[in-house]
């Protein structure tokens, strides 16, 4: 622990030094934990922040597609490139101590989307996935009074997935919130009138994800509720429900802002969806890092967590949410086209 606080202190000292000699035009990086639309929106936010007059910095956005090893390699390469600050969504923070320390040593480290409280990070930007899961669970509990429930999720290894799933279960079953609880994915849980029949993963293979949903609906013909905890899980659940004509017969509590899911919410056969604000993750990350490079640490609260909370989208607010999102993406795209690569010079 001594080393970590040393590293934090060293970073803070460097930031303090920037106060007198601020970086002219800082170069910061935003690193995701994979490739997804979610991250494309975050990217739009990061790029938009880079363009912002008051922030004004170069932005590099990286999406590691090959898991932990790939993320490590990209982070190392960015450090070598001489990036001033990095905001990363660590895939497995407990075991990524070395590379996170390397960033803290040579650059400035903050985390987004998925926190690493033990790492020498200066702050975390994002929401708590357990809380978001809890929201989704409550949404489901309100819309469906008991029956068989199936959970679909891309994969369970990453921390945010585990917390999100646990939050959903606790929210659905009406348990007292406790983020440290862990239900084995292979166990059937029967509680409070619900039977959670299982959790299915697909390692990001959509054809497989669709097959999972179809097969589970066949195995459990009386299935009352599904949830897709990653964006495409919900999208595919909507697709399968439409293809099998089970609108209204199987309830769906969604996660994230897939276009088909929002449309289905408007049509009324999906209970609702819990959305995060990836745009803000990107925007805030760049903003905070840029401020650091000018010696300003005032944005970081004492807790070290900049909370950007999740929202529940239901039939009533679906339309306005969608319009807003479209506008943001469009803005991000326009500004993102050329300058996403304005790092070279």
């Amino acid at each position: 622990a001594g080393v970590e606080s040393d590293l934090v202190a060293a970073q803070k000292a460097r930031i303090a030094a920037f106060k007198t000699a601020p970086k002219k035009r800082p170069h910061v990086a935003f690193v995701s934990n994979g490739v997804a639309d979610f991250w494309t929106i975050a990217k739009a936010g990061a790029i938009a922040a880079g363009k912002d007059k008051s922030i004004d910095c170069d932005v590099t956005v990286e999406f590691p597609g090959g898991g932990l090893a790939d993320q490590k390699r990209m982070l190392e390469d960015l450090v070598i490139k001489g990036i001033d600050g990095i905001s990363v969504s660590p895939i497995d923070p407990t075991n990524q101590a070395e590379v996170l320390a390397l960033i803290a040593e040579k650059s400035l480290l903050i985390t987004n989307d998925s926190d690493a409280p033990k790492a020498p990070r200066l702050c975390y930007i994002g929401m708590d996935n357990y809380d978001a899961g809890l929201m989704c669970g409550k949404l489901a509990r309100d819309g469906c009074k008991g029956g068989e429930v199936a959970i679909f999720i891309g994969r369970l290894e990453q921390d945010n997935a585990k917390r999100r799933r646990q939050g959903f279960i606790d929210g659905l079953l009406g348990r007292a919130p406790d983020a440290t609880r862990y239900d084995e994915p292979s166990k059937v849980i029967t509680e409070a009138g619900y039977t959670i029949v299982g959790t299915w993963t697909d390692s990001f293979d959509r054809a497989k994800a669709k097959a999972n949903i179809e097969d589970v609906m066949i195995k459990y013909p009386k299935l009352a509720l599904m949830t897709g905890l990653f964006e495409y899980n919900s999208v595919l659940a909507v697709e399968v429900i439409k293809q099998t004509g089970k609108e209204g017969k199987v309830q769906l509590a969604g996660f994230d802002e897939g276009a088909d899911v929002i449309a289905a919410i408007k049509e009324g056969f999906v209970l609702g969806t819990v959305v995060q604000d990836p745009y803000a993750y990107g925007f805030e990350s760049v903003k905070v890092l840029s401020a650091f490079c000018r010696g300003d640490m005032s944005m970081v609260p004492a807790s070290g967590v900049i909370n950007i909370s999740a929202r529940v989208i239901k039939k009533d607010n679906a339309e306005s949410f969608w319009k807003d999102l479209k506008a943001k993406i469009a803005a991000g795209k326009e500004s993102g086209k050329a300058p996403s690569k304005n790092s070279g010079k």
């Binding site: 994979g34 490739v35 997804a36 639309d37 991250w39 494309t40 999406f63 597609g65 994915p185 292979s186 299982g198 299915w200 993963t201 697909d202 990001f204 293979d205 959509r206 054809a207 497989k208 669709k210 097959a211 999972n212 179809e214 097969d215 589970v216 066949i218 195995k219 459990y220 013909p221 495409y232 999208v235 595919l236 697709e239 293809q243 099998t244 897939g258 276009a259 088909d260 449309a263 795209k333 993102g336």
Partner: protein, 329 residues
């Protein structure tokens, strides 16, 4: 046909197991969905087998699936093209990719593994770059085009089971390829080329042209399959759509009796190879095994299956030999 017996046996065993131990396996809806998946996988596997028969390999199938599958909704939705423009374009693009592979393999004599591995990296990269890593979908539109993959035809007298539209291209392709190899001159030539290229060349067979055409056909089928896949699924993410599909396609072909040394094919076998893979995956869910175990089970079952097939073959050959009469010269 004889080559296909092994995989038919394996298929039957798994099917039987699933019928007994899988929940609702023998329901119309499940069989309907299985038929659909098997048909899609077969189209890729048939393409793969066309290249394998030349003694080559195509590792880019999955990436061509991705590129074709992503381009289709991208052009339709983002660029606002009409289906009548998009579908031919995507197919031509796929065939062109295959043409490049074929020319690199036959003219420059590069190793097929290397050429198509570069393809694997390249086409997915292009798809990701083109779309900016955004997932592409039909956003609820284009139901009429998607019907190409989604339509189902009722059979009079049978309830619950309707034939998925994807079965039609599968059967047509299987029939064409089967006839091609058993009845046409070019099929003959391709078989000869795959086994002994110099013998074929010395017999005046235009081997380079045939090999090039095989690669074209393979990529064309991959592109066509990719289109059907996306019609079926509705949306896809460029970074992971079609990952590993080449391995499944090649596995189906090899299970179905194609030899990677070339010159051997069994269309029936390839269809059963593809079906086996799909039934196996569904069985795992319906029997209630954890999805973590899915790959382990598929690997183990296939390995045991092919090993058993080989042992049975050997055993019966030895028996026949023991009972056999002396050869009359």
């Amino acid at each position: 046909m004889k080559k296909a017996l092994g995989i038919i046996g394996i298929f039957a065993a798994i099917f039987l197991f699933a019928s007994i131990y899988g929940d609702n396996f023998l329901t119309g809806l499940n069989l309907q969905q299985l038929t659909n998946r098997a048909a899609l996988c077969s189209i890729l596997a048939l393409g793969a087998s066309l290249v394998i028969v030349t003694g080559g390999i195509d590792l880019s199938i999955g990436s061509v699936v991705c590129l074709a599958g992503i381009t289709t909704p991208w052009l339709l939705v983002e660029k606002g093209w009409t289906p009548m423009q998009v579908l031919p374009l995507v197919l031509v693009m796929s065939a062109f990719i295959g043409l490049c592979h074929g020319l690199l393999v036959t003219k420059l004599r590069l190793q097929p593994f290397l050429v198509t591995l570069c393809g694997l990296l390249l086409y997915r990269g292009i798809a990701r770059w083109m779309t900016g890593d955004q997932s592409q979908g039909f956003q609820g539109e284009f139901g009429d085009v998607r019907a190409l993959a989604l339509a189902k035809f009722s059979i009079p007298g049978i309830e619950n089971y309707r034939i998925p539209a994807t079965v039609i291209p599968m059967f047509v392709l299987a029939l064409l390829i089967g006839l091609f190899f058993s009845r046409t001159v070019w099929g003959r030539w391709l078989l000869a080329t795959g086994r002994n290229e110099s013998a074929a060349r010395y017999s005046g067979v235009p081997t380079a042209r045939l090999i090039t055409l095989s690669y074209m056909a393979c990529s064309l089928l991959a592109g066509f399959g990719g289109m059907l896949f996306i019609f079926d699924i509705g949306s896809a993410q460029p970074s992971d759509f079609g990952n590993f599909y080449e391995l499944y396609a090649i596995a189906a072909a090899v299970l179905g009796g194609c030899s990677l040394r070339g010159g051997e094919i069994s269309v029936v076998g390839v269809l059963f190879g593809a079906a086996t893979l799909q039934v196996l995956r569904t069985t795992i869910t319906l029997v209630g095994l954890s999805s973590q175990l899915e790959f382990a089970v598929i690997g183990a079952v296939l390995l045991v299956g092919v090993a058993a097939d080989e042992l049975i073959r050997r055993f019966s050959a030895r028996r026949r030999e023991r009972l056999g009469a002396p050869v009359s010269a």
